[in-house]
């Protein structure tokens, strides 16, 4: 019950590090890379991250499953930029708003690398985050209001029940003879019904939490310890190293370009 009870995760792996440190490391990389639009900083960051990924504590299959969405969206983002991005240099294809040029192609490549460099570490780090531990960390280490954090945590658990509700609602519509109607209207009706059920579940949960003394004025104690020790600082430093390395190489090679310039 101490910090870090991710099932199946090996000891001393990044998976067991406090989620607050994971959050910090991912944010440092993301903010730094969002400052520039050059290829070098994103490329260096991505290279360093790929070296570090084997230590993320994520089994290979889980890694591909969790990051699949990143591998799909990054090329799509690139394609969009290639077709519609700021035009410069030789024109390869021009049709209505589509304008593929040397400039837009280069920008597309940079976009793909940048999306990967920002999203991959974030997804890989958060795949092993236990919501309960994150809540403990946010409330105990960052001192966010316990009422808010624990309310969100409890609501998060309702998502599973809502998935079941959605299935039952859809089946019930078919049984009631109203599933042949236009799909859009039907989906809106379903969404509204789910919304009503969610509110009811939410208020029932709130009552149950109040019955256990939640929301009282007495100071709260914490059953689980949220620690921020060597491993946590290590991960934050690793994030900072990736960010600093990327910026340094980009500035030295003269390719660093602040967004908007």
């Amino acid at each position: 019950m101490t910090a870090g009870s991710v099932p199946g995760a090996p000891r001393l792996s990044v998976a067991r590090v406090n989620p607050v440190a994971k959050l910090a490391a991912a944010l440092i990389v993301a903010f730094t890379l969002a400052l520039s639009v050059d290829a070098v900083s994103a490329g260096v960051a991505l290279a360093l991250e790929l070296l570090a990924l084997p230590f993320a504590g994520l089994p290979v299959r889980a890694f591909w499953r969790r990051t699949a969405v990143v591998w799909i969206t990054a090329p799509l983002a690139g394609l969009t930029v290639a077709l519609y991005g700021r035009a410069s240099g030789t024109v390869h294809l021009h049709w209505l708003f589509v304008n593929v040029t040397d400039g837009s192609l280069q920008l597309a490549g940079v976009t793909v690398v940048r999306v990967l460099a920002i999203a991959l570490p974030a997804v890989a780090l958060f795949a092993t985050v236990d919501p309960t531990e994150l809540a403990d960390g946010l409330a105990q280490l960052l001192h966010l209001p316990a009422r808010f954090v624990l309310g969100a945590l409890a609501a998060f658990r309702l998502l599973g029940l809502m998935r079941e509700d959605w299935r039952s609602l859809a089946l019930a519509r078919r049984a009631r003879g109203v599933a042949d109607r236009r799909t859009l209207r039907r989906s809106l009706g379903l969404a509204f019904a789910l919304f009503v059920l969610a509110i009811r579940r939410g208020s029932a949960l709130a009552t149950a939490m109040e019955a256990r003394g939640f929301g009282g004025s007495a100071p709260r104690s914490w059953a689980r310890v949220s620690r921020f020790g060597g491993g946590e600082w290590g991960l934050v430093v690793a994030g900072a190293v990736v960010a600093a390395g990327a910026v340094t190489v980009a500035v030295v090679t003269g390719s660093w370009a602040f967004v908007g310039r």
Binding site: L205, A211, A223
Partner: protein, 447 residues
């Protein structure tokens, strides 16, 4: 102490007030004084522990240990003291699972015992149980009842229990208080004496009084009817590609009742939904005979939603899942309207159902605002409005008071006598006997 009374007499409200979770002035009026342990209940949080009816609504955390610890944390109990309390509470309710055990993997009875442990860990002097076993199967009822009895014997705490299934609790309680419809105390005393004096009135208000259970006079119907639906080598799956270890061969004739029984999680509901043409069979077949399909595809799962209406009607376990309309009247008119019936015919069907199920006074109400028993009656009536030849019901009598139960069972019996085929997934032995059902006992092993 067992608290009894007709629905609407304020039993649950009183428990909520005792627990200090009743809303403030803006949500209703209160008068008089109520003190728990000499203090106002809101100020005395932690003195009273509350366990509610719905097992799913009370699980707060993802892991068993954290869930039990939650109340202690809110009371500011020091960390070193919390974990011993958690283990002690889990021991007391007999929930022998690791502290890391995921709460979503627990059964209904286990979830109720978890809620009980969560309340116990706060060391309350007063335990408030609001129909703690109404949503449980017979095994779960015994589980929770025994856990409560054990806890009371160990801790010497006071318990106030609201429950309309009296029988299970008679040996646990030493005092019964009966509230009247207007909320006044009608009787207060030893269980056997109160039940002897108030038994008839209680039974009439829907309480299950031992020895005064409702009796259904069955309607005779012709014996032999054509077969409507057959299942062959049927395997079912709630989630596609994950079939349950269950293989069913069954035939369903008009005017017969087939009861699907078996322990929780065996797949009763899934089988019922598959027979109802709502879920596709994982393997094997569900086939409608020519008498039922009447020109449509023999496989019910291929039918359009509108084609299902007159052929197979399904009543869901949770009535709220199937409500679509804004008023009770609209809810009943929905099926007939989808069938394109003339307005006069729709009106006639709706009025007769409103009348038959005692919902006339509520015709303009929103279905979600009805009581549990009224919702159940409406969900059955809404399906009957399109006059399906096969009726599939998932736990139709679950958690119902004796009055609603009797009304439902005699309605279903009439339908059976008039030639409707009925399939019911159920735990209710009394229902099986009252309606003369053929029982299909499901077990986890392939039959």
């Amino acid at each position: 102490m067992l608290l009894l009374g007709p629905s609407g007499s304020g039993k649950s409200t009183l428990l909520a007030a005792l627990a200090g979770v009743l809303g403030g002035d803006e949500e209703g009026d209160s008068s008089g004084t109520l003190t728990v342990d000499g203090r106002e209940p809101r100020a005395a949080r932690g003195v009273a522990g509350l366990v509610l009816q719905d097992p799913d609504a009370q699980v707060i955390m993802a892991r068993v240990g954290d869930d039990v610890a939650f109340g202690c944390e809110n009371l500011g109990v020091p960390r070193d003291e919390i974990w011993p309390r958690v283990r002690e509470a889990l021991d007391a309710v007999g929930l022998a699972v690791p502290l890391e055990h995921p709460t979503e993997a627990l059964s209904g009875g286990q979830k109720q015992r978890l809620a009980l442990a969560g309340a116990l860990a706060m060391r309350p002097g007063l335990l408030l149980l609001d129909e703690p076993t109404a949503n449980l199967d017979p095994l779960g009822v015994v589980e929770v009842r025994d856990a409560v009895a054990e806890v009371l014997a160990q801790t010497g705490a006071t318990a106030v229990i609201v429950e309309h299934r009296v029988e299970a609790w008679l040996d646990v309680v030493d005092r019964v208080v009966v509230l009247g419809a207007d909320g006044t105390v009608v009787a207060d005393g030893a269980p056997r004496e109160v039940l002897a004096a108030q038994g008839a009135a209680l039974a009439a208000s829907g309480v299950w009084v031992p020895g005064r259970e409702p009796v259904i006079s069955r309607v005779a119907g012709p014996a032999a009817r054509p077969e409507l639906l057959t299942a062959q080598g049927l395997r079912v799956a709630r989630v596609p590609r994950h079939p349950l270890p269950l293989c069913v061969d069954a035939g369903l004739a008009g005017g017969s009742v087939l009861a699907l029984t078996g322990p929780n999680g065996v797949g009763k509901s899934t089988l019922a939904l598959t027979l109802g043409g709502l879920l596709a069979p994982a393997s094997g077949s569900v086939l409608a005979t020519a008498a039922l399909s009447a020109g449509a595809d023999p496989r019910p799962i291929r039918w359009r939603s509108r084609e299902l209406l007159t052929r197979i009607g399904t009543v869901f376990q949770n009535p709220e899942h199937q409500f679509v309309a804004a008023t009770v009247r609209e809810e009943l008119a929905l099926g007939p309207r989808a069938l394109g019936l003339p307005n006069a015919e729709i009106g006639a069907r709706v009025e007769s159902l409103l009348d038959r199920l005692g919902l006339s006074a509520l015709a303009g109400a929103n279905p979600f605002t009805l009581s549990g028993g009224q919702k159940r009656r409406l969900s059955v009536a809404a399906v009957l409005a399109s006059r399906p030849r096969v009726l599939v019901l998932d736990e139709p009598t679950f958690g119902q008071d004796a009055v609603t139960w009797a009304a439902l069972v005699s309605l279903l019996d009439e339908l059976r006598a008039s030639g409707t085929a009925i399939v019911a997934a159920t735990h209710d032995i009394r229902f099986l006997e009252a309606i003369g059902a053929h029982e299909l006992a499901l077990s986890g092993v392939a039959a």
